[in-house]
Symmetry: D2
Subunit: 346 residues, 4 copies
């Protein structure tokens, strides 16, 4: 299986290459970029030793032609044109936001580019209202939108409670901390190391972050009714990782045991989502570099809220690992092919 990566010079693209390298069924084909076209891969991703001699090519239909799979890691707004030029028989996995939202109105409100439509949403483990899973939409599909990093963490944290009815969907409150690679390789002063180290700071506060409608879309799909989310992202002094702390009002009559059972049942058969033993709590360090997700949940009876927390690696399960998981489902390989293995800790 020959796989091209378009937009390979950013953090997401580099991570896609890191995972494809490990994949036993993948031959890496073209690697393309925008402004970095013509550079050797070693100059933008020095850690990818075995690919270092490759030269980044332009992102054109010619260069991307002749592959079985094309993974897109492009800036928002560029995926549609690239995908259209590829035949329907080519599997296209988009790490960008362009095809994630099913509501054109939500897209228009939160993004400033024309609505491109929506593709199958690539969160295999998503527990759906009524009993199914996200992966059911992915087998044999040739167009998949990889979820955003925050939506992945938040959704996997809270969806079991919504799908099972033990929490209410109307007033979900989320505060999430992300490593700074989540902001991409952007040359902005507040992302400089000297500013980042020692700093926790919020951004996109008050409902304006673009991942908000995607989170609500997912939680609504789990709940079977409209979920409303207050979402506050924060930047944490670490390169990778998302810790999403999510709370929702517990449904009337729900006990702590019922809460735990809802989460246990949701993930009992999931390879990558680990509900921790009671008393243990997720840490981004435990999943760094891996496709694993740590989840924990508890009921605060006094406050009447369930607190569900997930830790992921924003570039791995939050982007590139998820892309490979989707790729596996699309082409009919076992879902975990090339994705097992532990994170790097300490």
């Amino acid at each position: 299986m020959k796989v091209a990566v378009a937009g390979a010079s950013g953090y997401a693209g580099g991570e896609v290459l890191r995972w494809l390298q490990r994949h036993p069924e993948v031959e890496i084909g073209a690697v393309t970029a925008g402004g970095n076209a013509g550079s050797r891969l070693s100059s933008v991703h020095p850690h990818l030793f075995s690919l270092g001699g490759r030269v980044l090519e332009e992102t054109t239909p010619d260069v991307l032609g002749g592959h079985d799979v094309v993974v897109l890691a492009l800036p928002h707004g560029h995926s549609a044109a690239v995908a259209e030029a590829l035949g329907d028989e080519v599997v296209v996995i988009d790490c960008g936001a362009d095809f994630r939202l099913r509501s054109e109105a939500a897209w228009t409100t939160f993004y400033d580019t024309p609505y491109a439509g929506s593709w199958a949403y690539g969160l295999p483990e998503l527990p759906l209202s009524g009993g199914g899973r996200g992966r059911e939409a992915l087998g044999g599909t040739s167009r998949i939108a990889v979820p955003g990093c925050y939506p992945t963490a938040v959704t996997l944290a809270m969806a079991p409670g919504l799908a099972s009815g033990v929490v209410e969907a109307e007033d979900v409150v989320v505060v999430a901390a992300s490593g700074t690679s989540g902001a991409g390789k952007s040359l902005k002063p507040h992302l400089l190391g000297a500013e980042v180290m020692g700093s926790m700071s919020p951004y996109g506060v008050g409902g304006g972050h673009r991942h908000t409608p995607e989170i609500e879309q997912n939680l609504s799909a789990a709940a079977g009714s409209t979920a409303t989310v207050s979402f506050t992202p924060t930047l944490a002094p670490m390169p990778r990782g998302i810790l999403a702390t999510c709370t929702a009002r517990v449904a009337a009559g729900t006990t702590a045991d019922m809460v735990r059972e809802a989460w246990r049942a949701a993930y009992a058969d999931e390879l990558f989502v680990h509900l921790l033993e009671p008393g243990a709590w997720p840490s981004t360090a435990h999943v760094t570099g891996s496709n694993h997700v740590e989840v924990q949940v508890t009921l605060d009876e006094r406050a009447g809220r369930v607190i569900a927390i997930a830790a992921i690696d924003n570039l791995a399960k939050g982007t590139a690992g998820a892309a490979v998981q989707c790729l596996n489902l699309a082409v009919g390989l076992p879902e975990s092919t090339g994705l097992l293995g532990s994170g790097v800790a300490p």
Copy 2:
């Protein structure tokens, strides 16, 4: 004014000494410790050059006698006995939790030592229901309990909304990130540098953290009614700082302008609490090493919640700076004596 510090070998005690050094009216007297008694101060706080030659003494009534002020930075449960041995004319400022809670039931539920009673609560800027401020209880007092670090950040973030009635008190949700000095100089594996760096992780989830009743006590005092708080603390990979993200349901009929005006009015005359310009957001890095507090607030109309965020230095405004501020009030000095000056950034 001669000031002794009991429990000077921990992070809180060292920070108290750092601030007392700068204070123009203070002569540092005895510095005492438990297990570290007999050591030179330079061996536990090498950054305190001018005090490095001092030797830590035992924490006894004799050693602490003869001072105008004694600052306690002791483990929980030790303050009452030490304070009793000091005359009423001695000003005692307790950085520990022992005298913070007015409810014996709350104390008993959250701490496992006998209830010691309550002292004047040392949060001068606290806006109270009905119009007063926390500082009114502090002038001329000889016993003051310094607030906990999380309660300081959370209270200063959200109290203006409660005191003004623009937010509801029944369902406050708080997620706060703290630097690891907040855990003290404890030799526990999860506090090792190799574990901490790259790691965001929660603890005390589900309402069990001991600062929860103190937060509720403060927010209730601001609201004039019982506040209920879901509080989740997290550990962030930085030495110092707390970022508290707090949300509450907006009161019916409240506009964004009313929200902003509530916070503006609350802090217009406060030297240490800075409501940022719209669009700017707090960062722990901006206040590191200083007694300053950054606050920002916004209304998420879609979610029906006000989000108020504060950044403090947990050891400064969160502990030792607050102790000096209380000391100033207790002895009748201008409240900001020895406390001005910027944080260290970047």
Copy 3:
């Protein structure tokens, strides 16, 4: 091939398990510990999801019996007794220092336990005076001492110059920075996260660090004459990684081209050691989590010194990756089996 790990609860042991998990020919057998025996692996290495249910057993001959390979990650002084109880047909790979030094006098000077002897030294890429490589001593061996982390970095940085004669061996000066996992999971105040972050500090200064004689042993083997090294290790605020900056006087008549050619020739055929393009410099971040080594060299003509710099992951190529590389050589597998793959960056 059934492999046991003795001393699996520390950072080195955990990393050995991480690499063994990935190894296609390895079945992980017993995992043992000292004080942590009886604990589940998930409690000490939560990142090793697939092994989390395993229980740490006591380190006894019975438990370690019946394996093809035993990897030791024990505190210094414990390896000899454990190894003796295993038959000669069992391959024993020791990550500790006990069998690294060929000089009993050097051992006695730098360590305070009785001399245990020396085993084959597990640095396959070591260029030897006269033309051979370290790996020649490792094929079919059943007892291998894995090099220390600093010696690995320093030796791979400077040995090509010594083996080729372009630098002098008499006055090698090394300053190396290590991530704090290099100090192990030791509960010491200076290793707490709050102390480590923001701190660069030296230790073992003046020739006292125990890796000094091992570095000299290696450099002497490369030079074919006695090397003398001034070695200063420093602790850096990062979890993993060693950056070793090594200088030596250039030999008379040596040009910059001759220097570069010496290093190029030494590593042209090495899979894991990468001499960077001129102008690129090693970074510990590029090799984090991988068995790769970055090396760069230059000649400072004004100062008359060659500067050679290497970056490794102290737990990977510096310990556990090297252990697996040795294991492969010992049992006759391709040297890189289970060891390829990129580090995790950014």
Copy 4:
């Protein structure tokens, strides 16, 4: 005393303002910038609360006129023109490199702008060959060049040995680690937080760093003969701080006691330079935010080298603290005015 700061929007300029704020004899006048002129200070230095409302003005003679002192924190090559426009009676303190080097040839080799000449060199504690100190050249001077951050650390580490003759000047080897604020507020990919955290990497290797001739100038002044230095700077994952590890061959006949006595005598009367007790070692964390310097020295008899190590805060004693110290000397105030106080640790 009215003091203007030209180039106030960078890290150095911001730190100069932080120190000037604390200075009891200083009134801060104009604050100027290049591209940031017109911005409020709060937008570039949000931590400087009391100055936040100030607006950055253009760096012109008119704006800078009417001050007693002007501190320059400009990019290299801009200081001469600005200084010429100010009268000789105005004290000008230049934090840039333009007037540091006394050798035009050295300037031309290492910088690519025309040689501007040299001013009094602002390292008061520099022990000179023959017995004097650097401060002797600074009293009553109206033009002072503040030393570079690396030269400050390296010089204070090693000069006592050179001035006293216990080490040789011909083969000094220095490896120094700097926090990333040392690279300024430059928008370069390798300075992004995601790249910096977890990374130690060298730069300017092989004698090319521009601080090399300045280090040699200082060490030569201490030795009374030409010093030759191999200097390798490295970037460390921390915002501030320099740890300079310096070695030189010990002079024949020198004992460990003689080495210690040389350093003790050099700094016995210095307020800001602290020779640590034997067994204690410098840490950048101990001096963060302060004007203090930690120094330690030892003799490695086996290697025949003295190792001297210094820790400073690159922005404080390495730039802005030094600027204020020079200002005090220039105007006849006690040298430590406004400069005492401890660093922020942990």
